[in-house]
């Protein structure tokens, strides 16, 4: 399980990290520890794969990029082939298998809004399967912060 310092890091550093000259020293003062201890702990959490990244989460759309949720209906015997084709595209940000007739769900992240349609077409051509696009029409909430109790 997580120790006290790990819990603090995970619960308190998802939303914000100090923007000042010595951010780790500032946290060390608040948490009554040493800055190097915090640095080492964050490194260890990254090495263990508990943290994927430490830094900024950009608003890609505001920076000119585009996102689109997509789904495909993939038959059992075609799985491995389709997965390897789809994941071969650098524009595929994540890909999940879900329980539905539409069983492969992935997110495309592209440089421009126009590229979404182009990538979808390439995936359809290479896999010989239809890609259903679910572009965002309205966003009600965004943000994912998880907490440890």
């Amino acid at each position: 399980m997580f120790d006290d310092l790990e819990t603090k890091i995970i619960n308190q550093l998802q939303e914000s990290f100090p923007l000042c000259s010595q951010p780790f020293a500032k946290l060390a003062e608040q948490w009554q520890t040493d800055e190097q201890v915090i640095i080492n702990k964050i490194q260890a959490l990254l090495d263990q794969g508990i943290l994927t990244r430490f830094g900024p989460l950009y608003n890609a759309e505001k920076l000119g990029g585009a996102f689109c949720l997509c789904a495909m209906q993939v038959k059992g015997q075609d799985w491995d082939t389709v997965v390897s084709i789809v994941n071969g595209f650098t524009e595929v940000a994540h890909n999940y298998q879900r329980q539905h007739r539409l069983n492969m769900w992935f997110v495309l992240a592209t440089e421009t809004p126009e590229a979404i349609a182009q990538i979808i077409q390439q995936i359809e051509t290479q896999t010989q399967q239809k890609v259903y696009a679910f572009p965002k029409e309205q966003e009600y909430y965004v943000g994912l912060t998880l907490s440890l109790s």
Binding site: Q14, L19, G55, P56, V92, R98, E111, L146
Partner: protein
């Protein structure tokens, strides 16, 4: 009113830290040295990028599965078009709902127009949240389905590169 814009230096900064901040005592100074800026300039620019919303969050990004949030259910609803915005906004206020979007239906295969994500420690907890929600908010009248993730094949963050023109490229 001024438009929020980013200049070449912002772009270089965005590019430089996309994989994360250096884990050193003075991380902003390290970035500043790389880019030929002062530490204060880096801090000021990052603050502004955050205020303007180019940076959504600045901190750690967790792998939810490794934290014990092993179940994520994509809950999809078929809500009449005139009600979907109200219900979407209402759903977004629940703490266990982490994402909520209106998206197009793909009939006949896909009748759902409202998508939300519920994360939980296990599938039972996610189902419990959904049940609570339906009862509290009188949502049982709408057709809804929950799609649990069975396998994750790929998860990565956004990638940015700098084109020759220095225009931000999202890859």
């Amino acid at each position: 009113m001024t438009m929020d814009t980013i200049d070449t230096i912002d772009q270089e900064l965005i590019y430089a830290i996309q994989d994360g901040l250096p884990l050193v005592s003075h991380p902003y100074q390290t970035i500043a040295t790389q880019l030929g800026l002062t530490e204060q300039q880096v801090v000021t620019r990052l603050n502004r990028l955050k205020q303007q919303g180019f940076i959504k969050r600045f901190g750690i990004v967790v792998h939810h599965k490794e934290l014990g949030y092993k179940a994520n259910g994509m809950v999809v609803w078929d809500i009449p078009d005139q009600q979907v915005d109200n219900i979407g906004q209402m759903l977004a206020n629940f703490p266990y709902i982490t994402l909520c979007y209106r998206r197009p239906r793909r009939l006949p295969l896909w009748p759902y127009n409202l998508f939300c994500m519920i994360h939980g420690k296990n599938q039972a907890q996610v189902l419990n949240y959904l049940e609570q929600l339906k009862q509290q908010e009188n949502l049982s009248q709408f057709h809804c389905q929950i799609l649990f993730s069975q396998r994750r094949f790929k998860q990565r963050g956004a990638r940015f590169s700098l084109k020759k023109t220095n225009e931000m490229q999202y890859v």
